[in-house]
């Protein structure tokens, strides 16, 4: 009986978790048809109906949410945050839910690996409160109550953090974010770096997709040894191609008088009273959540 509330809490969450996992795989099958899932971000944030809202406002909301999620250790509250950000993005931003979920595939795969690492314990003796265990020769791999709780907490906390950042990224074109950071005197070097890295992630991604397709068409992924060989060749190729591309990119920037500071121009809309109201309400609501679930 001691652990009842714990299971009540964990089981629905586990179901949710499995559902998300499954949807991840379902979506994944579709991704192949579309050329790439990563550059979707760059497309979505222009179509989002929320992209017109003041960037500083969104940045602040997203950062506060992020901090809140980091401080908060409660699974239900994390799920609430995930739900709220998803709802806003999908309902008010008019972003397609499946497109939005696709964005979680990549962080998801990293996250699961780390959660498994937290979940499993190794040792030669079993502690008293073990949920499950396997004996391998002379030592045990086991899961305890606290490791289960821990890994679930971490899982949802990270997911909540990611979704609060996605709230910003999916609803705001990246140069708007950078222009905003610049406005608040964020160092130029960092802004430039962020921008170029952002651009190049897409370059690399697109190049690698094309190369993999081209290699597939020439039967480069037929068997395990061939796959390994192809991947190695593609890896070194990507390096060369991206280097060349970077050079061309920089040439064209230089010839347009680029001197190390990116200046993009935006007409920012004003923050409306409704938005201010929502903001204050949000602060109160989340403070309340934070203290009542401590």
């Amino acid at each position: 009986m001691k652990y009842l509330s714990f299971y009540v809490l964990v089981i629905p969450n586990l179901i949710l978790f499995i559902l998300i996992l499954l949807s991840g795989f379902l979506v994944k099958n579709k991704v192949n048809k579309q050329k790439n899932s990563l550059s979707i971000i760059d497309q979505l944030n222009h179509y989002s109906k929320l992209s017109g809202i003041n960037t500083g406002y969104k940045l602040l909301v997203s950062l506060l949410l992020l901090i809140f999620c980091l401080l908060n250790g409660n699974i239900q509250v994390s799920i609430l945050v995930i739900f709220i950000t998803t709802f806003i993005t999908v309902y008010f931003g008019k972003i397609d839910l499946s497109q939005y979920l696709k964005l979680f595939i990549i962080p998801f795969s990293f996250l699961i690996l780390s959660c498994i690492a937290i979940l499993l314990n190794f040792g030669t003796h079993l502690p008293t409160e073990v949920l499950a265990s396997i004996k391998l020769w002379s030592f045990y791999i086991f899961v305890t109550d606290s490791s289960l709780l821990n890994s679930c907490t971490v899982f949802f906390r990270v997911l909540a953090c990611i979704s609060s950042l996605y709230f910003l990224i999916v609803n705001t074109p990246v140069d708007k974010i950078l222009a905003c950071l610049k406005h608040y005197h964020f160092p130029n070097v960092l802004i430039e770096l962020m921008f170029l890295i952002y651009r190049f992630i897409f370059f690399l991604w697109e190049i690698s997709i094309d190369m993999v397709t081209a290699a597939k068409l020439r039967f480069g992924f037929d068997s395990y040894p061939k796959t390994i060989k192809s991947i190695g060749m593609i890896g070194s190729n990507i390096f060369i191609v991206s280097f060349k591309k970077a050079q061309k990119f920089y040439n064209s920037m230089e010839s347009r008088l680029y001197n190390g500071s990116l200046n993009f121009i935006f007409t920012e809309s004003k923050v409306t009273p409704v938005e201010v109201g929502l903001f204050i309400f949000g602060i109160c609501y989340f403070s309340f959540l934070y203290y009542s679930f401590q």
Binding site: H46, S252, R256, L257, F264, I265, F266
Partner: protein
């Protein structure tokens, strides 16, 4: 009047000499084609003209005064000369068309109002107001080309260089490009296009410079260039179809020798005259 002169220019990537001795003069308001096979060094020459690459030796003379390749000189060059790069993908930098076009303008140090004004003007001029909030990376090839051209002409350079602009375009795109070029030419901009397409060069150019093996082998009117069989052979170029056809018709006595026709419709008119 020469607006730009390139004198004894040499350049090599590492040990590989690409430009061995290039001499070229640009006349104000002319339409010059730089004709050369792949790998003959056209793109390299442009990057040097814009101060992106530093030549091993040689001079760039802008409005009769040699340009020093220091900070001030580079700015001068880049303000006067704009390059529309071959691959739109490597030129596009911003994530909306509007911002893409304003990129160069803000780098020029113009005021925000001026930047917005000029960007709007350029959007109107190229008829791409409908694209202004779109993400340039997801536009079609023809639209992307328009955006990259807009990038450059927004900065109002006197000389506009197009590096193989027709490569990624379909026939409609090429026609649009020709219209844009005509408009620019009417504004008395000096236009330079690199290409290996002889038919395009034949139709469009006032003058042609043939770049081969690191040298400008010959500069002249399209007629002069394409009647020089030896030159064409050594530079791996073919004759334009219209030019060859007209030669053929002349030898058959169907039309009289005069100035050559640059377009199909010109040739048609001539034929109609004789057939009447």
């Amino acid at each position: 009047m020469d607006i730009l002169e390139i004198k004894d220019l040499t350049f090599s990537y590492g040990n590989e000499a690409v430009l061995k001795n290039v001499n070229l003069k640009l006349k104000k308001g002319e339409k010059l084609v730089i004709l050369g096979a792949n790998g003959s060094g056209k793109s390299t020459l442009f990057l040097i003209m814009n101060g992106v690459l530093k030549p091993d030796s040689g001079q760039i003379i802008l409005d009769n005064s040699p340009v020093k390749l220091n900070k001030k000189g580079l700015r001068l060059l880049r303000e006067h000369i704009g390059i529309v790069f071959q691959e739109a993908e490597s030129q596009i930098i911003a994530s909306t068309v509007f911002n893409e076009i304003s990129f160069g303008l803000t780098n020029l140090g113009l005021s925000v109002d001026e930047v917005i004004k000029r960007t709007e003007e350029t959007l109107d001029k190229l008829n791409i107001q409908n694209l202004r909030e779109r993400a340039p990376h997801f536009l079609s090839g023809g639209e992307q080309k328009k955006v990259t051209i807009a990038d450059i002409i927004a900065m109002k350079p006197e000389i506009v260089i197009f590096d193989e602009p027709t490569t990624s375009l379909d026939p409609i795109g090429v026609n649009n490009l020709k219209k844009i070029l005509e408009d620019l030419s009417n504004e008395s901009k000096t236009l330079v296009i690199s290409t290996h397409l002889v038919n395009f060069a034949w139709e469009w150019a006032d003058r042609i410079a043939v770049l081969n093996d690191g040298f400008i082998q010959k500069v002249g009117t399209p007629e002069q260039i394409f009647s020089d069989d030896e030159l064409l052979y050594s530079a791996h170029l073919e004759k334009p179809i219209l030019f060859e056809l007209e030669d053929f018709l002349i030898t058959k006595g169907l039309i009289k020798r005069g100035s050559y026709s640059r377009t199909v419709s010109e040739l048609e008119e001539k034929l109609n005259l004789t057939l009447k």
